[in-house]
């Protein structure tokens, strides 16, 4: 089963503003993380993939189908938008059933799949709960149920964990990993922790351009040997922030332990530390903005 997504020289303009600039990506089965700050162009890319906005240039193929063939693409894609919502007066079952009808499912299929999906997302006992009465986490889980109910080959999930409490966030990540076993799931987020916990293959997008494409370990490799921790007094913190890229501060009384990224050991007493994805991401973004500054 072909579940690959091929993006070649994709560009999208909104008037004079270029939201996507010559984006090239190839995404295979499993979880794929798309990381980037707010306004990087992630949502625009997601909308192009889900036929919700036209591309200005380039080619996009989903499972071999050009994105221009909207009808066929919509059959193989499931989408959970950033602000998923449904008609508030509908119950969970009714809302999911309505969207299943829009996906062209027969009555028999719906009778089987709707309860099954609700069970899968832990809403099995919430059939009649009105959507307006649901918590953010419940809504998001219902959102994932509607995105997979018609068994799509590709699932696009845009900022799914924003606003969720830690417990719901973990539960949601696990759910995503579970459904990614036999299909392609693109997770777009600005939360590094989500990517770290779920994806091996990632891309980093900034100002409409791909800054990095590879694996999480590849991203970490770039910052290896450049992360240090050191003890400073809280009085010195402004100076440290000015001189180095600080990725963490832990204060204790008048002293603080800071985690910094530097090309070489910054001061005597600085201890090399093992990097995490957040450090690697910050390093990448810092380099990119420095590069833009030079341009």
């Amino acid at each position: 089963m072909d579940t690959r997504i091929e993006i070649r020289n994709l560009s999208k303009n909104f008037g004079r503003k270029q939201a996507l600039k010559q984006v090239n990506l190839e995404i295979g089965p499993g979880m794929f993380g798309l990381l980037g700050p707010n306004g990087a162009g992630k949502t625009t890319l997601m909308k192009v993939l889900t036929t919700l906005t036209r591309k200005s240039g380039g080619d996009v193929l989903l499972c071999g189908i050009p994105v221009e063939q909207c009808g066929r693409v919509r059959e193989i894609i499931g989408y959970l938008p950033q602000d998923f919502s449904m008609y508030g007066n509908m119950g969970a079952y009714e809302g999911l059933d309505y969207l299943a009808v829009l996906s062209g499912m027969s009555k028999k299929e719906r009778a089987k799949k709707v309860p099954e999906m609700l069970e899968k997302v832990n809403l099995g006992d919430q059939h009649k709960t009105k959507i307006r009465a649901m918590s953010g986490g419940m809504k998001r889980r219902l959102g994932i149920a509607q995105a997979i109910i018609h068994d799509p080959k590709i699932i696009v999930v845009d900022e799914p964990t924003a606003g969720l409490d830690p417990e719901e966030r973990v539960r949601f990540r696990n759910l995503l990993c579970e459904i990614a076993r036999d299909r392609t799931v693109i997770l777009s987020t600005h939360i590094v922790g989500d990517i770290e916990a779920t994806c091996e293959n990632i891309a980093v997008l900034n100002h409409g351009e791909i800054l990095f494409r590879g694996t999480v370990s590849g991203l970490l490799e770039g910052v290896r040997g450049k992360v240090y921790t050191m003890e400073v007094s809280t009085m010195e913190l402004p100076l440290v922030k000015e001189q180095f890229l600080v990725t963490g501060i832990l204060t204790s009384g008048s002293a603080a332990t800071v985690k910094i990224i530097a090309e070489e050991s910054p001061v005597k007493g600085a201890v090399a530390a093992s990097p995490d994805v957040e450090d690697a991401y910050m390093y990448l973004m810092n380099h990119a903005s420095a590069g833009r500054g030079r341009e």
């Binding site: 036929t51 919700l52 894609i77 998923f84 449904m86 008609y87 829009l102």
Partner: protein, 414 residues
């Protein structure tokens, strides 16, 4: 998929407060207009009755007599009724203008104002004007005979001048003259009318027309609210993107919503006609006439359904385009304009959205204008389909462009 979506939409409408408000307002309006069973005009006329009502006449002599009578009465009071924008406005003339009107009256009749006043007084003295019935009979029977040598063309030219003096929307315009005038019916005419009522209308047909006349007024406005509510529901619930990304085609999504709204808007009409036709069916049987049990249904489908379809299609189109409630104002403006644009309360269907037949009976007259009504309703049916197709185009554009068409225009305007 279409059928399932249609049923789901109907169920959603049934859960909507706006729909129940629609039903209540519709029923209240109809009850206020047709709450009482009117049977007095559905009786066989007897010889020697004081009055048999009026009949519309397009005969030139009758038109001249009644129009001159109206002009005489208004000139005496020096207050002329006009409806320039559909609303009443009384016009009072200065001495020079009034004198010109008087000279037109004298020119048309060959009599002085004093003579005309005397004739009018003599006419009114024949009736008991202290009762409502007497006053109506006196007014219905009053006419002013034009001079023998006055041709209809000359008369029309004089009336054009009268219109210029009084202003727009008076009773002397070319359209008003062409609409004909109400003249007292003779016994023979009344019998002929009654027989047409029994044979062609089978009683219920006449009452169905009156029902459609009233229902048509309120249905030019009320369905807008259903349409606007449905189209804004997706925006309010923020479900656009989820719906857009699904397999269903625009015809299936918008078409099922539209059809569900049309059916649900027509449902109270069906229920109301079922209840309202019963006393008239009973009355027809007491008259020895077999009633047309499907008359209300036939008239409603032909008369009211195209109107509901058009109003809903327009509200769908404007609301999908603008994503706000502006279509309510557009439609209310259109409905008021259509209501007051009609020259008469019965007939002259033209291309008015609201067609009027505010008369119980006048079977012969209606039958002669029936084709015009069919043409009018056919036009609105086609218009509704075209508006719906345009809505499909706009919805599909929004679905693919990723933002509203309105937003794009608005930004470009800036």
């Amino acid at each position: 998929m279409f059928g399932t979506l249609f049923l789901k939409e109907c169920r959603q409408i049934l859960k909507s407060m706006v729909y129940y408000l629609y039903v209540v307002l519709f029923v209240m309006f109809l009850s206020s207009q047709m709450g009482e069973v009117i049977t007095e005009r559905l009786e066989r006329p007897e010889p020697g009755q004081e009055s048999y009502g009026t009949v519309n006449s397009h005969e030139e002599s009758a038109v001249m007599e009644k129009i001159l009578a109206g002009l005489m009465m208004e000139t005496e009071r020096n207050t002329y009724a006009t409806y320039p924008m559909g609303f009443y406005r009384g016009v009072t003339l200065n001495d020079t203008e009034r004198n010109e009107i008087i000279s037109i009256l004298e020119e048309c009749t060959g009599k002085s104002l004093e003579e005309l006043e005397r004739e009018e007084q003599e006419h009114y003295e024949k009736y008991d004007s202290s009762t409502m019935e007497g006053a109506i009979q006196a007014q219905t029977g009053y006419s002013v005979v034009p001079r023998e040598s006055l041709t209809y063309e000359e008369f029309c030219e004089h009336m054009e001048r009268v219109c210029e003096i009084i202003g727009a929307g008076s009773s002397y315009s070319r359209e008003e003259l062409e609409a004909g005038v109400g003249v007292p019916m003779t016994y023979e005419q009344a019998v002929e009318e009654f027989e047409a009522l029994c044979e062609k209308d089978r009683v219920t047909g006449a009452t169905a027309r009156l029902f459609c006349d009233y229902a048509g007024i309120i249905l030019a406005v009320l369905p807008i609210f259903l349409g606007v509510t449905r189209c804004l529901r997706d925006k309010r619930a923020q479900v656009n993107q989820v719906v857009y990304a699904r397999r269903a085609s625009v015809v299936q999504i918008v078409g099922s919503r539209y059809l569900a709204n049309v059916c649900m808007a027509f449902l109270p009409v069906l229920i109301t006609i079922f209840v309202m036709q019963m006393p008239y069916q009973y009355h027809a049987k007491t008259m020895g006439v077999t009633p047309d049990t499907l008359a209300f249904l036939k008239y409603s489908v032909i008369w009211l359904l195209p109107e509901i379809m058009t109003v809903l299609a327009l509200s769908f189109l404007i609301t999908e385009f603008t994503e706000n409630v502006i279509s309510i104002f557009v439609q209310v403006f259109w409905a008021i304009g259509s209501l007051f644009a009609s020259a008469t309360l019965a007939g002259n269907f033209g291309f008015h959205l609201i067609v009027r037949w505010n008369a119980l009976g006048d079977t012969g007259e209606f039958w002669s204008q029936r084709q015009e009504l069919f043409l009018n309703r056919g036009y609105y049916f086609i218009l509704a389909v075209l508006l719906l197709c345009l809505t499909f185009v706009i919805y599909e554009k929004k679905r693919r462009e990723g933002e509203t068409v309105y937003g794009k225009i608005f930004k470009r305007g800036k």
